[in-house]
Every structure is written in C-alpha cells, then in structure tokens.
Symmetry: C2
Subunit: 361 residues, 2 copies
C-alpha cells in the first residue's frame, strides 16, 4: 500500500441528535448504532484500512474519549490518536492535523474521514477514495467526495459541479449550499449538477496548508510559528493543542471549502448515508415488510407499521397496534415519540438536562 497515504478519522463529535442512544459520555461513533456487532468507529477504521496503511491512520477525538478509542481500536497505538483539548469546530482541527502530518511525511496525501457514516458498497468506496488519493498526489487541489443524490434530501449540504471533468472524474466545484429547503433540493437533484456533500475530503498536505494559510492566515501563522520554533515533535504538538482554545470556533466548510478556488468534487455512488439523526437512520436501514426498522434485540410484532425501534441486544420487544413511532430504549432513558419530529430531540435533551442534570447529556 502507498506509504504516502494517510487517513484522519474525525471522531470527536457529540452526536446529540441521536440522543438518548448517543450520549456525551459515549457518542454515536462509539456505539453499534446499526446493530451489526461493530461500532461506527470500528466500521470506519475497517473501511479505511483497505485503502491506507494502518500505521498511517490517525484518530482525531476529544480528550475525554481516549479510553473508549483505545478500547475499541486496541491495535491503534497511542501516537496515532490525537486529542482535541476542546470542541472548536472542524477548521482548527484539520489545520492542526495537517501540520502534524507534515512533520511525519511532507509528501502525505490525506483523506479526512467521518466516523458516523454508512457505506453499503465498499468496493466502489475503496475505488473512489483511492482515485482521489492518486489525483491529489499529482494535483495541488482540494477534493471532496460528492454523493450522487437519490432523493431531494434536505438534511445534507449540496455541491454544484461545473464544466468538464479533470482526469475523467474530478469536477471543479462551483458552489456549496448548506441544507436547502425542499423546493431547492428538488431543483438541485433534477439539474444533475448537484451532489450531496459527504464531508470526506482528500488532499496532499501542502495543498491544504497553503489553502488554509490563505483562508485563515492568523490561525495558520500561529500554528506554523509553533511548528517552526519547537524542534521536538511531542513538545510542538503539545504546544499546538495548548493554544487550541484561542482559535475561533470555525467550520471548515464555511471558512475554507466555500472560499478556496481549487476545490474539486469526485462523484461517489457507493450507497452512502450520514448517520446524523434518527430519521436518517430510519431511511437508511432496511425495513421489514411493514416499514419497520428494528435495531438491537428480538421482536414480536403485531399490526404495527413504519416504526423505528432501538433496543438493547438482550431485550425482547413486544409491539402491537402502533404506527409511526420512534422508540429508543437505553439503560437510563426510554424515549417514545412520533417519528419524524427529529428537531424535538434537542428539546428533550435540554429538558432532561435541566431536570436531571448533565448526566442526561
């Protein structure tokens, strides 16, 4: 496998929209959300291990989750786990990781992976990411994987491509659009020019550092000076994270991708979903003949349709005469609500915290 290939798995999110399964103490990426025996992080690691040498796979997570990562990925040495000292959005995180990887290998080609995504066709996935890594090895461009949309989904960002492809697959990006209203999503899909933003990015290390230096010069100057002034790798990395909290809470998409002029999209068609919300999970997972999705334990079902139920593996669900419910059963919370009211989850979470304290988060 190409030793210049690197992968960073972003695993520091809190996944509040999958509450009460996803909890601050153990967010969704560390859970077997799909009920398949492997957590989302483990599945992500398995997937990228087919593309990138294992010793070049880096897990970026919050310092609170160090032990969970060690437990779930026991083969990954500590030096490949990077701890964010605070939640500061994606831009500071990606900048720091880029500076760090450059010290390991200035010829690194990096794929930035998300730890909470579903991929159905791994062969096609491996092919797409590999082509991306090969492309950025030769081109100082930022590549994002765009997913060919299957419906006018309003929960995803959209990427508009333009012109003829470079190297047969890489289209220049014209616009990024955050989650659109349904009428726009329909127009986007019908046009054939738009793709879902997967949040999977591919670039060589110098290209991302150069681009970020243009888009976020203050932050990059601070980081570069640390990396130049402190010769010891561990000390340097430590210092970089010490000043982390001084960085603005910046979204990488908004502050870099939407402003850079060297962004390209490669189209993925590998059965993809971002497991961000219960609704996504419901629409993603296979249904029984009556539109029900069950994750977890056994089920005895009578006259029930279009429900989504998540139970512990060792629990038996008995369900009769109910439709369109969203039920999540965890150790300390039982949530029973109408399916499709995903915006209410935050309200439930906030009310639970107000009433019972931070342990509910």
């Amino acid at each position: 496998m190409d030793i210049n290939r690197y992968c960073v798995i972003m695993a520091g999110g809190q996944g509040t929209r999958l509450w009460p399964m996803s909890r601050k103490a153990c967010p969704k990426q560390f859970q077997d959300v799909l009920g398949c025996g492997r957590t989302l992080l483990q599945q992500t690691y398995d997937r990228y291990s087919r593309i990138v040498p294992r010793e070049n796979i880096i897990i970026s997570t919050h310092v609170d989750y160090t032990d969970i990562v060690r437990e779930q990925l026991p083969d990954v040495p500590d030096k490949q786990v990077i701890h964010e000292p605070a939640f500061r959005g994606t831009a500071p995180s990606i900048a720091n990781l880029a500076c760090h990887i450059r010290t390991l290998n200035p010829n690194a080609n990096i794929v930035v992976a998300q730890s909470d995504q579903l991929v159905l066709d791994e062969e096609k996935f491996v092919d797409t990411v590999s082509r991306g890594l090969d492309f950025v090895a030769e081109n100082n461009k930022l590549v994002v994987i765009g997913i060919k949309p299957t419906c006018p989904e309003t929960r995803y960002g959209y990427i508009q491509a333009e012109g003829a492809p470079v190297d047969g697959s890489f289209y220049k990006v014209r616009t990024f659009t955050e989650k659109p209203a349904l009428e726009f999503a329909r127009i986007f899909v019908d046009s054939g020019e738009f793709y879902w933003n997967s949040g999977i990015y591919i670039w060589n290390v110098q290209a991302i550092i150069d681009t970020m230096s243009k888009c976020l010069p203050d932050m990059m100057n601070t980081l570069e000076s640390i990396y130049n002034e402190i010769p010891d790798r561990d000390q340097r990395r430590k210092r970089g994270y010490e000043i982390y909290t001084s960085f603005p809470n910046a979204s990488f998409d908004l502050s870099v991708m939407e402003r850079a002029d060297n962004v390209y999209v490669v189209v993925g068609e590998f059965g993809w979903a971002d497991i961000g919300t219960w609704d996504t999970l419901y629409s993603t997972l296979p249904k029984d003949g009556k539109g029900n999705v069950f994750v977890g334990g056994g089920v005895l079902l009578y006259d029930s349709n279009n429900n989504m139920v998540v139970t512990p593996k060792n629990k038996q669900l008995v369900m009769q005469g109910v439709d369109d419910l969203m039920i999540v059963d965890t150790d300390d919370v039982l949530m029973v609500c109408r399916k499709g009211n995903e915006d209410d989850i935050r309200r439930f979470l906030n009310d639970a915290k107000m009433k019972l304290g931070e342990k509910m988060a």
Copy 2:
C-alpha cells in the same frame, strides 16, 4: 388483639395477565406494582397486621416462592409459610389450610386474603374485616366481602344479596355470577342488589370444614383421615401436601361458595380493586391531568394522553405525541401496545415462550 383471629394470605398465583412485569419467577404479588416502595404482598401483610395477631398470619404460596416470601417478609417465621406443592386451584388450598389451622386452634376465625388487591381506605377496611371476624365467631356461616360497585365492571364476579341483613350488615347470598357481559353488569349495578366479589372470605374453622365436607366429600375425607391418623403435626402436614397433586384442580368459588347454603355477604366500601390486569391497574391508579398513569421512574411528557407506562425506578421516560398506549419496560422485555387490548397479553406471553423459551414466562 383477639388470639382466635387468623389470616391466610393467598400468594401462590402466577399473575400472567400482568406480563411482562409479572413473571413466573417473580409474579405480581412480589412486585412493587403500584410504585410505592412496598410489594403487593408486603402491603397486604401490613394491612392485615392491623386486624390479626402477626403470629397468626399465614402465607400460602407455591414452593418456588419460599425464598421471595422470606426475603420480603423477614419477620414471618418459616412455620407461618405454607407451600403448595403444585398449582391446583383454590379449593384444595383452602381445605388444607383449614385442616392445618384447626390443629393450631380449633376456635380459629379465619380471613382468607388475596395478595394482589388495592385498598384505599384502610380504616374502613379494618372495620369491615373485623366485623366479619366477630360475626363468624358467633355464626357458622361463610362470609364474603362484597364491594359496592362504582361502575358496571365486567372483569369482576358479582354477588347478589337478598332479604334483610343479619346483625345489621350480613346479607344472605342469593347468587354468584362470574364475569358478566356489559349489559348484565349494568342491570346488576342499577338493581342495587349486586356486589363485586372481592375474593376475601371470612369464617370459623369448623364452619368451613363442615361446608367443604358437604361440597367436596372425597377430598375432605382424604384430608380428615390424614389429619386423624398422623399424630405428628409436621408429618401430617407433609402427608397432606403429598397427596395434594391427586386432588382435582377445583375452583373454591364454583365448588363451594356457589353450592353452599350458608353464605353471607358483608358490604365493603373502602376503595377496592383487584390488580389482575393492566386495564384494572390503569383505571385504579391516579391520572395526571391528561389521563396518563406512570409507575416507576421519572417522566418528561409532551402532548401525550391516556397512556399507561411502567418503567424501572431508575429510568427516565421521554414521551411525545402518543396516545392510548400501554408500555411496560422490564429488564428483558419492552412491551409497547394499544391500551385496552388486555386479552392479547396472554398471546404475547405464549408467543414469547414459543420463540424464546420458558424464561419469558
């Protein structure tokens, strides 16, 4: 307290209609079904301790539940716990207990209590039972407590009274009617002559033995001969239970109460319910302003009406946008069904046993 007063608490039932909370390994009488901190058995014991000397309270249960009874009523010595070796209905059980109590005290006046009932006004309850015990001390009659009906309930048996009361409170029983159809229940209630059968019986020990000897002569002859021939009390009791399995599976109500001519009813008005089914429990327990009943842990409620939910004490329920559901959350079963379909519970239980084995019972 009158040393001739005895109480037998019947605690051998399996409570299948409160599945999945009530389980063969720990039926409803051993659970805190009302969420008040005491199990139904403990509450029953507390209640009768106000009427009968504690050393005269006998718990009749299945041999499998000996340890649970010992744990829940640690002050009750082993000799006051009688173990049925098999489920054989109420008639053999009551006959055996009567013969046993006669050996302890031939002047015993006995109240036969059920361990799965709710009593709201304990003062009135104590008064009614005490009057019954005083009455049977002077009269060789079988007394049943009849509950003044508050609605045409079809889940209870009805007792018809006739004529003027003896001693001001004790009416001769004219008929027993098992669970009637709704139209009959309405007529019963409107007539003013009918009472719900509480299953609480009061008699002196000789009266019940004499009456049962007339109604079930074979069984009583077998029992009497054992009690006459074996002088040692423990040996005798042991032998009585050894032949227990040879007795027919007979209901006491059908084979004795409905056939005897010395049965009287005393009217109770103390806020009573038999906690036999989820529907009873729902109609019995206090509702919030929206018709919901919650037993167990905390609740965050949004736009939900007329639900009955039982959760573990340490669990938080979050409920939104659902009506008329019956939800029971136990360690190994989560039941979510339409409220009011109580006949389906047996089907669920049977299907669960078929699919997953006897551990589900």
